[in-house]
């Protein structure tokens, strides 16, 4: 029996029992959903590189972590001060802190919320008001083994519900921190329901308090009703030994607006799947992404945008800088369905390779079943521009400074699309520290 099969057998023995102890198991629809998700997971198994969607991303090294669950309550010795390095300067926000997959009410601070807005622990909602979730949580929602496993064993996460017409002015900062150092896994489930013509900014932020070796498997469902506007951030600053796997599934109704800013700096292995379905006319979506990896890091982004209805507009731009022996994967699919006329879609992926041993596998993918559409896509892989380097050096910058300035400028084109200046500055600083030898460039941040 091979390694993965052995693990699967172990999970097969263990999980059905665990499932009965998970929040929400008193509700039959939750039990049914978990059971079906688990069956699908066992049917598909842990993905290998023979699976097309995981062709370049090999998780074998880390799957052992799936054998243990971070189920016990986290230690509460974390101080608020320890968290402050993950704050966005003076930005005033609603903050929920999730430690090792569990919502910590002591560390969280909700400002006064507009009437009717709910920001709650998913575990609590599963136990007390599971009916609220029924229209939105389905085992088929998210595809792929990790999403199936998530549906089967999710234990906590954040539930956000914004009523029709309500504008949540302050950003909602969801801070997911790893604290323990065990090789285990946590399965986090988030749901964001934005009512008609509501507005919000939700920041999913992953970080480590040091030394974590967890596998984080997070799934987020987003339901945007007619005219709703959501700015959704995914900021991944996981520990260098962590594995961060996540998927986002977005349903867009008429005239809704979904902007995603996905930034991946950390983790040994990180994988993001974003699937946006534009189910209503006049919807707009922007997928903006940046990855900076070095050493032996591995980062994989899979996105899919379905233009189901006419008159929708999608923009996608991912950029990456890959150094050392790191490897990046980008797979961006856009599907224009029959009848989705007047679709306007543009997608690009640009990469800078800083070393001979760095690798990028990029595949923009376009599938069009409608006439009268405007679609563009493209990918580039390159080194720094020699003429720009010479220009900067001729003005007195050393070759190292010039290289760093150009790298930073390349990355900053992505960060410049971020509307919250405090978040942008925070990420610029983190990006800066990630770049080789960029310490002398403070002035660029001004």
């Amino acid at each position: 029996m091979n390694h993965a099969a052995e693990l699967t057998a172990r999970l097969q023995a263990q999980l059905p029992t665990i499932q009965n102890e998970l929040p929400g198991s008193h509700e039959s629809w939750v039990r049914v959903m978990r059971k079906r998700a688990l069956d699908s997971f066992f049917k598909h198994g842990i993905p290998t590189t023979r699976n097309e969607a995981w062709k370049y991303t090999d998780v074998r090294k880390y799957v052992d972590r799936l054998g243990a669950f971070a189920v016990e309550k986290p230690a509460s010795e974390i101080s608020v001060e320890a968290l402050s390095s993950f704050y966005f300067g003076e930005l005033d926000c609603h903050r929920i802190v999730i430690v090792d997959g569990r919502v910590s009410s002591e560390l969280s601070s909700l400002r006064s919320l507009p009437a009717g807005v709910r920001i709650e622990s998913m575990a609590r909602i599963l136990v007390e008001e599971a009916y609220l979730l029924e229209p939105y949580l389905h085992d088929q929602h998210l595809s792929g083994s990790f999403a199936e496993l998530n549906a089967a064993v999710m234990h906590d996460g954040i539930y956000i519900d914004i009523p029709d017409g309500v504008v949540v002015e302050k950003p909602i900062h969801l801070l997911f921190l790893s604290h323990k150092r065990d090789e285990d896994s946590s399965h986090i489930r988030n749901l964001i329901v934005a009512g008609e013509y509501s507005q919000a900014t939700v920041i999913e932020h992953f970080g480590s308090l040091g030394g974590s070796r967890a596998l984080i498997n997070v799934a987020t469902d987003v339901e945007l009703h007619a005219g709703a506007r959501l700015e959704h951030y995914k900021l991944q600053q996981s520990d260098i030994n962590e594995v961060n796997i996540g998927s986002v599934r977005v349903h867009q109704h008429r005239d809704s607006y979904y902007h995603s800013h996905s930034v991946a700096f950390g983790a040994a292995l990180s994988r993001r799947d974003i699937h946006v379905e534009m189910n209503g006319e006049g919807a707009e979506c922007l997928l903006n992404g940046l990855y900076l990896v070095g050493g032996r890091q591995h980062v994989d982004h899979h996105t899919r945008i379905d233009h189901v209805r006419p008159d929708c507009r999608s923009r996608e731009s991912y950029k990456g800088i890959i150094d050392g022996r790191a490897r990046a994967v980008f797979n961006g699919k856009v599907v224009v369905h029959t009848g989705a006329d007047k679709t306007d879609s543009a997608q690009s992926n640009a990469n800078l390779l800083l070393s001979d041993r760095a690798e990028i596998d990029t595949k923009p993918d376009l599938e069009i079943h409608a006439d009268d559409v405007k679609c563009a896509h493209g990918a580039t892989v390159g080194q720094l521009d020699m003429n720009q380097l010479f220009y900067l050096r001729s003005r007195g910058l050393t070759v190292e400074e010039a290289r760093n300035v150009l790298m930073f400028a390349f990355a900053d084109e992505v960060l410049a699309k971020i509307k919250l200046p405090e978040v942008r500055r925070y990420l610029e600083r983190v990006a800066f520290e990630k770049l080789p030898g960029a310490t002398a460039l403070e002035g660029m941040l001004v």
């Binding site: 003429n387 720009q388 001729s394 003005r395 007195g396 910058l397 050393t398 002035g443």
Partner: protein
């Protein structure tokens, strides 16, 4: 200040400069004129240190030092400035940041203290006014989305801030209307001083109406065919380049 002797330069296997000799003294303005493809831009790029050019023989001595051994940034610190014929757009890099980094690197090299932000902004605004560059350009990305004329003016603005000892202007006049040309020339004339030198590379005599050269050279087919005073420029304007080529091919 700058002494070039028998300089041969090869680009991509092709000889572009075939024995240039040029002596530029402090306080002088030299105009290098010539038809397209004569090697004018190659000459300025080699002096500024572009590594796409191979010097096969000859020497370039600047302030008594072997210039060819110096990196582009060291040349900049030592006072060489090239105003590019086609200034590069650098999205994401702020114009003011570039100047501050460049100027402070130069000051550090010369053993001077770095300028504080207030003093620096004072200089920058003063120089921007000198070339009538709107202050909004200061916070924009280097050359990004600038018109042709704005890019050229930005080059002269940078030159004014960096105060080089030797300024090379590579066809800075091309594509400028008369008003812009006057402003650019005004910026160059302000820089003229007994301890500085200027090399103007140009196709047309027009710029020389505003910046009076001490010496005019005709560069064609990689060689300086003729040198003279400003009267030579006027003669070139009137008669074109062919007569020089004919006269020297004998």
């Amino acid at each position: 200040m700058l002494k070039i002797e028998n300089l041969h330069v090869n680009v991509g296997g092709k000889d572009i400069l075939k024995g240039i000799t040029l002596d530029v003294k402090a306080g002088e303005v030299h105009a290098v004129m010539g038809p397209n493809g004569s090697g004018k831009s190659t000459l300025s790029n080699v002096i500024a240190g572009h590594d796409g050019y191979e010097v096969t023989s000859g020497s370039v001595i600047y302030k008594g030092r072997n210039l060819l051994e110096m990196s582009p940034e060291e040349r900049a610190w030592e006072g060489i400035f090239l105003a590019f014929q086609y200034p590069v757009e650098i999205p994401g890099v702020n114009n003011t940041y570039l100047l501050k980094a460049g100027l402070n690197a130069k000051r550090k090299h010369l053993g001077l203290d770095e300028l504080d932000a207030i003093d620096f902004m004072q200089i920058v605004k003063e120089k921007a006014d000198l070339v009538q560059l709107d202050h909004s350009f200061l916070s924009r990305a280097v050359n990004e989305g600038f018109s042709g004329g704005e890019k050229k003016r930005n080059e002269i603005f940078q030159m004014a801030v960096l105060e080089p000892s030797l300024a090379l202007l590579d066809e800075t006049d091309s594509g400028l209307d008369i008003d812009a040309l006057r402003i650019v020339a005004g910026g160059v004339n302000k820089l003229r001083s007994p301890d500085r030198a200027v090399v103007l590379i140009t196709h047309y005599q027009r710029l020389l109406n505003y910046i009076e050269p001490d010496v005019v050279h005709v560069l064609a087919d990689g060689q300086i065919l003729k040198s003279g005073d400003k009267a030579l420029a006027l003669e070139l304007e009137e008669r074109g380049y062919d007569w020089v080529l004919e006269e020297t091919s004998v």
